[in-house]
């Protein structure tokens, strides 16, 4: 059923901290690896090897450079606070499990659906006809079509891990979250205001990507903290030592002379 379910209390999703992501691609690789062997695997590749590899990934990590530029309506103090150092920001991009996504409602077959119980957006591969319309409807590039399977593929929020009772409680998290070496990824219920992820979002000003599309992403991004103006304000490294040997003992003067040759 591709009509959207009524708003539910539970909204499972991710919170991604752009302040500490180092762009190592560990989440993307762990995702590919898990989903190659998980319930939905193998995650197909048209061409896994060779000069032009091509295949499906659920998670992609971009890197951006941000050049501070005067923003409209900004005064001098705000500009100063924002700092003047260009920033590099690493930016993982995957399905945001939106609350009102058109990727679900455009699907003609009912293959693309949003779960009532936890808000996870999934594709039922047995129903998908591979019309690709849902991928056109997603602003965030979260859906990749597989020529091999003839169906649409997308992030499952590791639905085959997070409820997996054969795992220890601590392992019931998406593979990307488990893999992140900097702990830039957090998983939880964003519908519960008291959850750790909701508190993090409130505390750090977590935000939505392209809110103007009206899809209401569940996943939130935490903004990078403003960089200190590294070059100019950091303490200067110590100067080269210039010891005055003219007042030193004759022995030291002699050693200095020998070593300075």
């Amino acid at each position: 059923m591709t009509s959207l379910p009524p708003p539910a209390a539970k909204k499972l999703g991710l919170v991604i901290d752009l302040d500490i992501c180092v762009g190592c691609h560990a989440c993307a690789v762990a995702c590919k690896e898990w989903n190659d062997g998980g319930e939905f695997g193998p995650l197909p590749d048209e061409n896994p090897y060779g000069a032009e590899p091509l295949g499906v990934w659920f998670n992609r990590v971009h890197s951006y450079e941000i050049t501070p530029s005067p923003l409209a309506g900004e005064d001098g103090a705000q500009r100063k606070e924002r700092g003047n150092t260009p920033m590099t920001v690493h930016f993982p991009r995957s399905c945001l499990h939106c609350e009102t996504p058109d990727c679900v409602s455009v699907c003609p077959t009912g293959a693309s659906y949003k779960r009532v119980e936890d808000g996870i957006v999934l594709v039922d591969e047995a129903k998908c006809i591979g019309c690709k319309l849902c991928s056109w409807a997603c602003p965030y590039g979260a859906r990749e079509y597989s020529e091999v399977r003839g169906t649409m593929q997308k992030c499952t929020l590791c639905v085959d891990r997070i409820y997996n009772e054969s795992f220890e409680e601590i392992d019931r998290q998406p593979a990307c979250v488990m893999a992140c070496p900097t702990r830039a990824r957090h998983f939880g219920d964003l519908g519960d205001a008291d959850s750790a992820v909701s508190k993090l979002v409130a505390e750090r000003g977590g935000y939505d990507l392209m809110p103007q599309m009206g899809y209401k992403p569940v996943n939130k991004y935490l903004p990078p903290r403003p960089r200190r103006d590294g070059c100019s304000s950091a303490p200067k490294p110590a100067q080269d030592e210039k010891t005055d040997f003219s007042t030193a003992s004759p022995l030291l003067r002699w050693i200095d002379k020998v070593l300075s040759r």
Partner: protein, 324 residues
């Protein structure tokens, strides 16, 4: 967006087919005895063939065409599904009218079926356009000129093919002879309207403010200008292949001019030429009508190719696209 031939063929042929069927249905609504048996069946048959050819082509675009029947299920939310349902439903009046024309049905029945066919033809084209206009991610399609464009160009294609068919089987019926003034004026009006509408559409997409920017896509605009320095992958992926199609500006300008001539001034000139040639050389008049249909259809293909090739998807902002 990558212009896939199957989808271009589908939208053009289905548009022409439903334009033709709409005009036939409308004509039969007011005059059940308008067409001779052969003429009526040929018109309905050609309309149906266009529509079926379009639908078959559209299934070539699918990864799992054997499941295409599932696409009829989600008409509550999906324009693509609605399009399928409306398209199949339109075959009820097509078949019933064919039966009536063959056996000579009750005029009131023909009036009603004609009206139903006209209505379903419009609904189907509205649904086709809805597939595109509903996508907020592609501003060039989420545009108020797209729906009227689909309707108008479908009508133009339908009218021009009706005249070509008249040319092929001119049977001396004075109201529907190849040079009939009614059809001449209809074609000329539709061509002028199409020309104006496409110009307005292109002007609109060229001047529209961006729906999104790299800054809003990443949410990092508060820190300054955002520039992609490293893509997630070195080779292409599905997204960059499907949505990263870029058309050189100079090619777009030329192709727009070609499309505008083929759907605007050309059909007007050829429609008038056909009307003027009839008394002198009916054969030449018929040939002109057929040539007009082929050239306008070519123009519609160029127009539809551009509709895809010029459309930018907001996801490309993540890959260094400047604006969408």
């Amino acid at each position: 967006m990558r212009p896939a031939f199957s989808v271009i063929f589908f939208t053009v042929m289905s548009g022409c087919g439903y334009g033709l069927l709409f005009l036939c249905g409308l004509a039969l609504t007011f005059d059940s005895a308008l067409f001779g048996r052969i003429e009526g069946l040929t018109l309905l048959g050609v309309g149906a063939v266009f529509v079926v050819a379009g639908l078959l082509a559209s299934t070539l675009h699918l990864g799992q065409p054997q499941r295409a029947w599932r696409a009829f299920s989600q008409w509550r939310s999906s324009w693509l599904s609605r399009e399928g349902v409306a398209s199949v439903a339109s075959f009820v009046p097509i078949l019933a009218l064919s039966w009536c024309l063959w056996h000579g049905g009750d005029p009131n029945g023909v009036h009603a079926l004609g009206a139903l066919l006209a209505l379903l033809a419009v609904i189907t084209v509205v649904c086709t356009a809805g597939i595109y206009t509903s996508l907020k991610t592609i501003p060039a399609w989420h545009n108020r000129f797209v729906l009227p464009g689909y309707l108008l160009l479908g009508l133009l294609g339908g009218a021009i093919w009706i005249r070509a068919l008249h040319g092929l089987l001119d049977d001396g019926n004075p109201r529907f002879a190849v040079g009939s003034p009614g059809l001449t004026w209809l074609i000329a009006t539709l061509a002028l309207a199409s020309w104006l509408l496409k110009r307005a559409y292109w002007n609109s997409i060229d001047t529209a403010p961006p729906a999104a920017t790299p800054e809003s896509a990443t949410g990092l605009g508060r820190f300054g200008a955002v520039r992609s320095v490293e893509a997630p992958h070195t080779e292409k992926n599905y997204l960059t292949h499907e949505m990263g199609f870029a058309l050189a500006r100079k090619h777009a300008v030329r192709l727009r001019a070609v499309a505008l001539i083929l759907i605007g001034p050309l059909p007007i000139v050829l429609a008038l030429a056909t009307a003027l040639l009839v008394p002198r050389s009916p054969t030449l008049a018929s040939c002109t009508a057929i040539a007009a249909a082929l050239l306008v259809t070519a123009g519609l293909f160029v127009e539809r190719w551009l509709f895809f090739a010029e459309a930018k998807h907001v996801v490309m902002l993540y890959y260094g696209g400047a604006r969408s």
